[in-house]
């Protein structure tokens, strides 16, 4: 197939920055189409981690010696990098976490203990949410007695502002939703949802895991109260992520985990807590993870988020078009605005079997329910095949996918 027009030559060359992608798979070139689960790492991140460990590593916020001071500088510089990346107003609004899952648990648990919520208060999610944006709220519900409502998606997988606000009542305290669905790739109208919520005094939490690798995010423009993402989906190391929280909220919510770093003064009678972000970072943090995440952000920002968005939308559209042209393939979700992911099923072949056939063709996709069982029920499928892209994905990866689907069809169809 001809390469689609409108691709960015600089971004096309980015693939060479990712050593793992050169590894042959079952004797074939690797077509890695599972970046929504976790992205591969560029040399800039791998080298950055090694350099940091080899020349500047020590614990942070503790030693008086030079190394500890340097490591602290690097850790806090990483926080500043994340602040700029999200255009947060202040670095204190950025809390490092293990990932988005931990960040959502942090907010759910501290909000649950804050005394702000009363039984019969309500929170609104959407039917497309990943389990990590459902289960923490259920745990909080069990502790507080709040009620959970889920906004519906339409048959194409769109979640409209109206659908969200149909679930909103005078008791609604919070709306939590994915900026981009990890299943259908739907881009939710985050700005409109957050602005309308703010007018009504409702808090918002946006899970940006599937958004930040594909588009620029500005938390002040969105007007969200919390925003979170995982580093490993943004070409950074696993085990690091970030939570943005409005400073007045982070200052008024109770501490989360207890330990070193999050305190001011400890006696056996009473402990006073540090202001944010330290308040929410008990214990030795993932220091190198933060440094690696900053390296990943620096890496993607070299290309520019808008350039990445433009380039990826061309490659993604190519993938959608090619898949839609395959006889027997049905897309699960055809949203008006899509980023990152395409889910589909195939007549007569279970996704699990498709995944095994594709693997042998060197094509790595995710098959299953994508940790979004309510979304699977919405579309009435037990599982889907999901192809998702990253900065290194080429149109030819989708060619390999379509070729592999042809083999699956030949093998299974009677």
């Amino acid at each position: 197939m001809n390469a689609p027009a409108g691709q960015n030559p600089e971004i096309l060359a980015a693939r060479d920055d990712f050593p793992l992608l050169a590894r042959p798979m079952h004797g074939r070139p690797l077509a890695f189409l599972d970046s929504a689960a976790s992205a591969q790492k560029p040399r800039a991140v791998l080298d950055g981690l090694r350099d940091f460990y080899e020349s500047e590593y020590a614990n942070v916020h503790r030693g008086v010696y030079l190394l500890s001071a340097q490591a602290t500088d690097r850790y806090e510089a990483a926080r500043e990098t994340v602040r700029r990346f999200l255009n947060a107003g202040r670095a204190e609004e950025i809390v490092f976490t293990r990932g988005a899952t931990e960040a959502i648990n942090l907010v759910a648990e501290t909000l649950g203990r804050s005394g702000r919520l009363e039984p019969d208060d309500e929170i609104v999610l959407t039917v497309l949410e990943h389990h990590s944006n459902i289960v923490p709220w259920q745990l909080m519900r069990d502790a507080t007695g709040v009620r959970i409502h889920a906004a519906a998606a339409d048959q194409d997988g769109n979640v409209d502002v109206e659908a969200v606000f149909r679930e909103v009542t005078d008791r609604t305290q919070l709306i939590a939703f994915s900026h981009v669905s990890n299943t259908t790739g739907t881009v939710l109208p985050a700005r409109e949802i957050c602005h309308r919520a703010r007018e009504r005094g409702i808090l918002t939490l946006v899970d940006g895991c599937q958004a930040v690798p594909h588009a620029a995010v500005d938390v002040q423009d969105l007007a969200c109260d919390f925003y979170t993402f995982s580093g490993h989906k943004l070409y950074g190391p696993s085990g690091i992520g970030a939570l943005y929280g409005r400073l007045d909220l982070l200052t008024s919510l109770p501490p989360w985990q207890g330990g070193g770093s999050m305190i001011e003064e400890v006696t056996f009678e009473r402990t006073t807590y540090a202001p944010p972000p330290a308040r929410y970072e008990a214990g030795t943090p993932n220091i190198a993870g933060a440094v690696g995440l900053a390296a990943a952000i620096d890496y993607v920002q070299r290309f520019g988020s808008e350039n990445i968005q433009r380039h990826e939308s061309v490659v993604l559209k190519y993938g959608v078009d090619r898949l839609q042209a395959v006889d027997g393939v049905r897309l699960i979700g055809t949203p008006r605005h899509r980023a990152g992911s395409i889910s589909f099923v195939m007549d007569d072949v279970h996704p699990h079997d498709v995944g095994t056939v594709l693997d042998r063709e060197g094509v790595a996709v995710r098959v299953g329910h994508h940790c979004a069982q309510p979304a699977m029920r919405h579309f009435d499928v037990p599982a889907t095949i999901r192809a998702s892209l990253g900065i290194y994905t080429h149109a030819s990866d989708f060619d390999a996918l379509v070729e592999g689907l042809g083999k699956a069809k030949a093998l299974f169809q009677p």
């Binding site: 072949v349 996704p351 079997d353 095994t356 329910h369 037990p382 599982a383 093998l411």
Partner: protein
């Protein structure tokens, strides 16, 4: 290993036309099995009388490997004692995950030997057996592979 060794014609045939599909009117035991990783779901009924399996039937929503295993397994179980059924499961697990791929006494289930080379798919093949064991014990709840 070639994909054809995994997806042999017998397996494809059983997955397209599962034997003993459906539900029993009056089972002595019923169990549900679920593989949360891929969403495979199976409901299995057994009729045991005097320590012998008289009938087996199942309803499966799953991949070719799990449906074919359920189909072949259900065919083989009729007339077997409970002890023989448990022994069959033990041998089947041995064939798929044991130190050497021994397929003694597995009869028609031998066509599934290739699953051994696809470790991510072993649970697809063992789900029907886990569900069978729960049905024989008539355990409430759902058996999970995870």
């Amino acid at each position: 290993m070639d994909l054809r060794d995994l997806y042999q014609e017998v397996i494809l045939d059983h997955s397209r036309h599962p034997r003993n599909a459906g539900r029993l009117a009056e089972p002595s035991g019923t169990a549900k099995g679920h593989n949360p990783l891929c969403g495979d779901l199976i409901t299995l009924d057994v009729l045991v009388k005097d320590g012998v399996i008289r009938n087996v039937s199942f309803d499966a929503r799953g991949c070719a490997i799990s449906v074919a295993t359920a189909s072949i397994m259900s065919d083989m179980l009729k007339g077997k004692t409970l002890e023989e059924a448990h022994d069959l499961f033990r041998r089947f697990q041995q064939m798929l995950t044991g130190p050497d791929a021994e397929a003694d006494g597995l009869d028609k289930l031998e066509v599934l030997a290739g699953v051994r080379e696809f470790p991510m798919r072993v649970k697809c093949a063992t789900l029907p057996f886990h569900t069978l064991r729960a049905a024989l014990d008539n355990e409430p709840g759902t058996v999970q592979t995870e």
